[in-house]
């Protein structure tokens, strides 16, 4: 350990555990994320460039890629516009129900995508809640690219809101007052002063929404109709190719998606306005003058018609895209009565799915919890080379499609995979069994705990630990008695979000599960099977359990934010 410290540390530290924490974090990331991803790239490389290119430019692949990226760009753009309006309304105005609305913005993070998919379909199908009104007008949403757009708007909605909100909250009223005293009208202040300050946050939110949308699978496949060349998205094509044992095609499409996504993200990163310097506030930090009535004086707010219009737009948008789907789940679940509902959630296959879901979460969440603590300890308490690289690596799974997350494990552990022959000869089953489901779930939830802990622990610094050590505490005592209590609420926060995603994960699990009823079906997969069997009420009944989980997640999340905001972190964008 001394050698590790000596080799990699940029600044020596008295705090112990660097080697252990960094070693564990790197090994974990390597095994779960890097090696499997490398397997895919390796597989793609064996195709040769010509082989790769032939697959990518084949008409059906090209159509799927184009559809995925175009609808994602449009959805992310729509989310950018409405996200700014919603963030503005939530930060600047007071109106009844505002806090509830604020809490609901995170619904797409908490609601499993399969649930969102069938709920949106119930609303926008030609005989659905809104679809039946649109059908006579000749507007078809579900089973068209428009339906894909709706699903992608739903799942990307929180990103821009949550990146813009903190920036707007910190934006000093004095800046706006300064513009006013210099003669700027309100609209000039907004356009020339406030919006430019929001641009980096908007771009970040846009990029996150885009990355999420491109890889999205669960919510889209129900509403898209999945007609080749028309409404078939790239992740679905990967799944189809896998089911046909077309590993080469699946790998090529997956690699192409990754390359285009990274290219887009890089581009967005490069066009971020330069010259602004660091993101620190220009104005020296002074304790804000608490002046009664300071909140929105005449000078720093809009006229009431503008306010009313913006609040109206935000409320209608959120109601349409968030509250309506949630309501649809419960209404559809009880459509044929309470008896059917309880039958659906107590039949053996459903119970098996519940058990499996709980089991998977019970393994994946603690694993990511330990990883998060190790990674945060290494990153927050030590200065070492490659730190920012490690930080970026942790977030990598967020920009990889869940379908690709499943694909890489099939390529590694499947019968045709790199380790397939070895596993078969030792009679070990990973793919289409519990280990594969756990691995895929861990992959997609790797970042959750770590990204809560890293910023908070960086903010808290190392003084508390140094004090404890100087008072004679051992390394582990320091960790358990000082560090852990300092981050306990943030830890819980991360665990709750991690758990929601782990229980609701659809795409990655779908690829590696094999869909064996009663054995390898998690709840979201069970929803899909019931839905595909036209057993809608039962599908929605099981979905309603997942929706309740989402509501519970949101409740805990909001409670933590309200009561322990200062102990969670400076940033609360999720």
């Amino acid at each position: 350990m001394a050698t590790v410290n000596g080799l990699a540390l940029k600044r020596p530290s008295v705090i112990p555990g660097f080697g252990l924490a960094l070693g564990f974090a790197l090994t974990y990331l390597g095994l779960i994320v890097l090696i499997p991803l490398a397997a895919m790239v390796l597989k793609a490389a064996t195709l040769g460039f010509a082989g790769f290119w032939d697959i990518v430019v084949s008409p059906r692949t090209l159509a799927a890629l184009r559809l995925s990226f175009v609808t994602s760009l449009v959805a992310a753009s729509i989310n950018a516009i409405f996200g700014v309006i919603i963030a503005w309304v939530l930060v600047r105005y007071d109106f009844p129900g505002k806090r509830l609305l604020d809490a609901f913005v995170d619904l797409p993070f908490a609601l499993p995508t399969a649930v969102a998919g069938i709920a949106l379909t119930a609303i926008y199908a030609p005989n659905g809640w809104i679809g039946s009104w649109l059908a006579p007008l000749g507007i078809k949403v579900a089973y068209t690219p428009l339906g894909i757009l709706v699903a992608l708007i739903f799942i990307g909605l929180p990103f821009v809101v949550r990146t813009v909100q903190p920036v707007l909250e910190e934006f000093s009223r004095e800046i706006e007052e300064a513009a006013a005293t210099l003669g700027a009208r309100r609209d000039q202040t907004i356009v020339r002063i406030i919006l430019p300050a929001l641009v980096p946050a908007i771009l970040t939110g846009f990029a996150l929404a885009l990355a999420r949308a491109v890889g999205e699978y669960g919510s889209v496949i129900f509403i898209a109709g999945n007609i080749p060349y028309v409404s078939e998205i790239a992740p679905l094509l990967i799944v189809i190719r896998l089911e046909e044992f077309g590993y080469a095609e699946a790998t090529a499409i997956g690699t192409a998606m990754l390359l285009i996504s990274f290219g887009l993200l890089l581009f967005i990163h490069l066009v971020q306005p330069g010259g602004v310097g660091d993101s620190a506030m220009t104005d020296v930090s002074l304790t804000p003058v608490l002046r009664p009535g300071n909140h929105g004086t005449e000078v720093t707010t809009e006229r009431w018609p503008v306010r009313a219009l913006l609040i109206g737009v935000a409320v209608v948008f959120l109601a349409l895209f968030l509250l309506l789907p949630l309501a649809a789940v419960f209404v559809e679940a009880f459509r044929v009565g309470a008896t059917a509902y309880f039958d659906a959630i107590t039949e053996p296959d459903a119970l098996a799915a519940v058990r499996l879901t709980l089991l998977v979460a019970a393994i994946a969440v603690p694993a990511n919890l330990v990883f998060g603590l190790a990674a945060a300890w290494a990153i927050a308490k030590f200065e070492f080379r490659g730190k920012s690289f490690l930080n970026a690596l942790i977030d990598l799974p967020f920009s990889v499609s869940p379908v690709i997350a499943g694909l890489i494990y099939v390529l590694l552990f499947g019968a045709q995979g790199y380790l397939g022959p070895y596993l078969q000869s030792h009679d070990i089953q990973i793919v289409f069994a519990l280990p594969g489901i756990v691995l895929a779930t861990i992959f997609v939830t790797v970042p959750f705990v770590a990204r809560e802990l890293v910023p908070l622990m960086q903010e808290q610094g190392t003084q508390d630990e140094e004090a404890a050590l100087s008072l004679g505490a051992s390394g582990w005592q320091t960790f358990f008695k000082v560090t852990l209590p300092n981050v306990r609420w943030a830890l819980l926060y991360g665990v709750v979000l991690c758990n929601a995603r782990a229980m609701g994960e659809f795409g990655a699990v779908s690829v590696v599960s094999g869909h064996i009823r009663g054995r390898t079906n998690t709840m979201p997969l069970h929803v899909e099977i019931l839905y595909n069997e036209y057993n809608f009420a039962a599908a929605f009944a099981v979905a309603s359990l997942l929706a309740l989980l989402a509501l519970l997640t949101l409740t805990i999340k909001v409670t933590l934010e309200w009561r322990y905001a200062d102990q969670i972190a400076a940033t609360r964008r999720h």
């Binding site: 000093s172 007052e177 513009a179 005293t181 210099l182 700027a184 641009v199 602004v276 020296v284």
Partner: protein, 369 residues
């Protein structure tokens, strides 16, 4: 008006404000201004006449209402009642945009995404087209102002790339760029370290002398107010305690609050009887005129005392502590039966030490009832 201002800003007169020359300094009149927030009053009927071209300090502790008054002058806040006049015209009917005051914020409130040059030019850039100077003219004026505030060469920088003192001067130049009728500064040096603060104080005084704007600045730093202002307005609990030149405020404070807020002071309970001042059973050798009999408090300053040999008519006490204070020594005395604490300042060579007996008579002092 001085040469610089007329050279730069001899543009056509404003549309508003009639035939007055645009940058001519204005008188500011505050008439019985009351500002309440809910049930608490921040200003209880403040009246004040500020003469054109004056440099005025609003001095007071936090919560005294000084910033509220400044914000009302700027148009960022509206009084509950009362009037504010610029010359003889009603200023309250003008919006903040129309009022044309240059306000320098305590936090500077620089626009982070704009260069220094763009910050300074912003006020001209947002004017309606009819009054907006050409692009090159805006640039020329901004550069000229940056020269005035000694920031030439930094015009392409962003605010984050400047030191605190430089940001302060950018904020100042930005406020001057709109040819303000009144210049308002909120704790202009509050966020700077002591050395920079002293330099900028001198610099602000020079700029004011050159440009001649009617200038009001808020401060809680009495030293700053005394050194910089033509006149000081001392505020306390939303009321004006005293208005006067630094000498008047320092030498003739009209209330116990002003006496103890400005400079250092000690206080003793005294009795006035028949034109004489009594402390405990001693008749002090202090001439009192026109003071009716009764209880009062004597206020004195540590450096305005004289040691007297004859202790019968003086304030006598035993030294309880000695501290070095610049070029002199501070002695803390316990005086009288109740061992009231007072501080006196003696030359550093004074031989008295803890336990010594010292008798003093204040040379300047005031008694308040």
């Amino acid at each position: 008006m001085d040469a610089w201002a007329s050279k730069t800003f001899d543009q056509s007169p404003r549309q508003r404000g009639g035939d007055r020359h645009e940058d001519a300094p204005v008188d500011v009149t505050v008439e019985n201004v009351i500002r309440t927030f809910g049930t608490t009053a921040a200003l209880h009927g403040v009246s004040l006449d500020i003469r054109a071209g004056e440099l005025i300090a609003l001095l007071g502790p936090s919560g005294s209402g000084k910033t509220t008054l400044l914000r009302i002058l700027a148009g960022l806040d509206v009084p509950t009642s009362g009037r504010v006049l610029f010359d003889s015209a009603d200023a309250l009917s003008l919006t903040v945009q129309e009022r044309n005051v240059g306000l320098v914020f305590q936090s500077y409130a620089l626009f982070r995404h704009m260069t220094v040059l763009e910050n300074v030019g912003f006020g001209l850039q947002v004017r309606p087209r009819s009054r907006r100077p050409s692009r090159s003219e805006i640039k020329r004026r901004a550069l000229e102002l940056l020269d005035l505030v000694q920031l030439s060469g930094l015009e392409k920088r962003y605010p984050t790339q400047l030191s605190g003192g430089q940001r302060q001067r950018v904020a100042f130049a930005r406020a001057l760029a709109i040819e303000p009728r009144v210049l308002l500064l909120d704790e202009p040096f509050g966020a700077l370290d002591a050395k920079v603060r002293r330099d900028l104080r001198r610099w602000l005084r020079e700029i004011h002398d050159r440009t001649g704007h009617t200038t009001v600045f808020v401060t809680h730093d009495q030293e700053e107010a005394l050194e910089l202002a033509d006149r000081i307005v001392v505020l306390n609990n939303g009321r004006i305690e005293q208005v006067g030149t630094p000498d008047e405020i320092y030498d003739a404070p009209n209330s116990p609050f002003v006496f103890s807020f400005i400079g250092e002071s000690s206080t003793l309970p005294v009795r006035v009887k028949g034109g004489k001042v009594w402390f405990d059973d001693r008749r002090l050798d202090l001439p009192v005129r026109d003071l009716a009999d009764g209880q009062g408090r004597l206020f004195l300053r540590p450096h305005d005392v004289e040691v007297v040999a004859d202790d019968r008519d003086a304030i006598t006490g035993v030294v309880t502590a000695v501290r070095r204070h610049g070029g002199s020594r501070r002695f803390e005395l316990g005086v009288g039966e109740t061992q009231e604490r007072i501080e006196v300042e003696l030359p550093s060579l004074a031989e008295q030490t803890v336990g010594s007996k010292i008798s003093v008579l204040p040379q300047r002092w005031r008694i308040y009832r």
